[in-house]
């Protein structure tokens, strides 16, 4: 399967990439790792006429401590997130979740920025960073702005990014020793989650993100509210599907997805609380 024709330009800097996208308008797209975009282009579900390659902007590949959070460059690949000592120490939930993306070959290519910009609700990292209260940094022709994860995911594969804005950094708060768990339920190796749950807990505070439970990644605030008010894990987990509107498919009916969300949330909170 060969994609439709396009022109290819390799950007040497973020500024150049943004101006190239601006010049070419709606028909142009960034390509980072290409592991979401190229499969769509091969199926002709996406047919951009210009690809602006940002995958080798190595100054956007980094993981560093910055006060109370960890800053991760958008071009950092899943394998580097998974194996980062800084993340293992301060944000182990994210390092662990990145290790569940696809398979090693996919993790050698796919980037955290691409995963979040693509914003597939079945992807592991949008829901995980949402649960962690991440902030995303976007750069456009008029400068840089910060977008809270809670305001970023607007609809199916649709985000708050303007077409000529580039995601440059993901900031996740340090977890400060909070308990955590990532539960990914699938039936085949290397597959996407049928339902997934990313959760952390520190006493009465918690965050629960749901994978593949709606057209967008879901923050299960009613679970966290129950935990905050002293509910048992069992009672809190019973709220897991309350704010989600999942669809049924070959893998799971709506009811089964709701069931999985409750069971996986209970498992995740049990581990995160121990």
């Amino acid at each position: 399967m060969i994609p439709a024709q396009f022109d290819y330009v390799r950007a040497e800097s973020a500024e150049e990439a943004i101006s190239l996208i601006g010049q070419h308008g709606d028909e142009a797209k960034f390509i980072a790792g290409g592991h979401s975009l190229l499969p769509l282009m091969k199926l002709r579900l996406a047919q951009p006429s210009v690809l602006v390659d940002i995958g080798r902007l190595s100054d956007l590949s980094y993981i560093r401590e910055d006060g109370d959070h960890i800053a991760i460059g958008a071009m950092t690949r899943h394998m580097d997130v998974e194996t980062s000592d800084v993340l293992k120490q301060h944000a182990p939930l994210l390092a662990h979740a990145a290790g569940h993306v696809g398979d090693p070959q996919v993790r050698h290519r796919g980037t955290i920025g691409g995963s979040i910009a693509h914003s597939d609700s079945a992807s592991d990292l949008p829901a995980t960073t949402l649960a962690m209260g991440a902030t995303y940094v976007a750069k456009g022709p008029n400068g840089t702005r910060e977008i809270a994860a809670g305001d970023f995911f607007e609809g199916f594969l649709t985000t708050a990014l303007a077409p000529d804005e580039m995601l440059t950094e993901i900031r996740v708060p340090k977890m400060n020793g909070a308990g955590w768990s990532f539960q990914k339920f699938n039936r085949r190796a290397q597959d996407w989650a049928i339902v997934g749950v990313a959760a952390w807990r520190n006493g009465t505070e918690s965050g629960v993100g749901l994978v593949n439970m709606d057209s967008v990644p879901v923050l299960a605030t009613s679970v966290s509210a129950a935990i905050a008010s002293g509910a048992s894990i069992e009672d809190a987990a019973a709220e897991a599907a309350a704010q989600a509107d999942p669809t049924g498919d070959l893998n799971a009916s709506v009811e089964y997805r709701q069931h999985l969300a409750r069971v996986l949330t209970k498992r995740a909170l049990t581990i995160a609380s121990s």
Binding site: I2, F6, R10, D103, V106, H108, Q190
Partner: protein, 152 residues
């Protein structure tokens, strides 16, 4: 566009369309047909090669994305005198292949795995090869081969 890639130590330059996939570049332009295409949808791993030393699926990378980089294919694994790479030798000795279709991808993924984790457990090997499918389902001997290569 001109795409120049160092393949198995030799610099090659070919004039290709931007939409040329790396696996096509390798097979059709460089003429190295050891790298197979199985699923063409990034699921099976038959097209695995090393890009700058790490296993990747060449059906899901544009040749243009590898312009100026180094890749290694199965043809680059044995020594010039024909001595097999220890991983290839281990596959031979442990009956790690049946029809052989998945084998080039398995060998490339397995060597990348050992580079990152030289002493893997059996579980590490199974997880590390989760992106590679064997239609002959010879997984037990594939895992045995990789563990044997790790102990060489």
């Amino acid at each position: 566009m001109e795409v120049s890639i160092n393949i198995n130590g030799t610099q090659q330059t070919h004039d290709v369309e931007p939409r040329t996939l790396l696996v096509q570049y390798i097979r059709e332009h460089a003429g190295l047909t050891g790298t197979n295409i199985g699923c063409d949808t990034s699921s099976c791993g038959a097209c695995s090669i090393h890009l700058n030393g790490e296993a990747v699926k060449s059906c899901t990378i544009l040749a243009a994305q590898a312009d100026g980089e180094e890749i290694k294919t199965i043809e680059g694994m044995a020594d010039a005198d024909g001595t097999l790479h220890p991983m290839q030798q281990a596959f031979m000795e442990n009956h790690g292949l049946q029809c052989g279709y998945c084998t080039p991808g398995m060998v490339m993924a397995a060597t990348s795995l050992l580079d990152e984790n030289p002493n893997p457990s059996e579980e590490d090997v199974r997880l590390g090869l989760e992106g590679n499918l064997c239609r002959c389902t010879g997984y037990h001997n594939i895992v045995k081969s990789v563990l044997a290569a790790a102990s060489v």
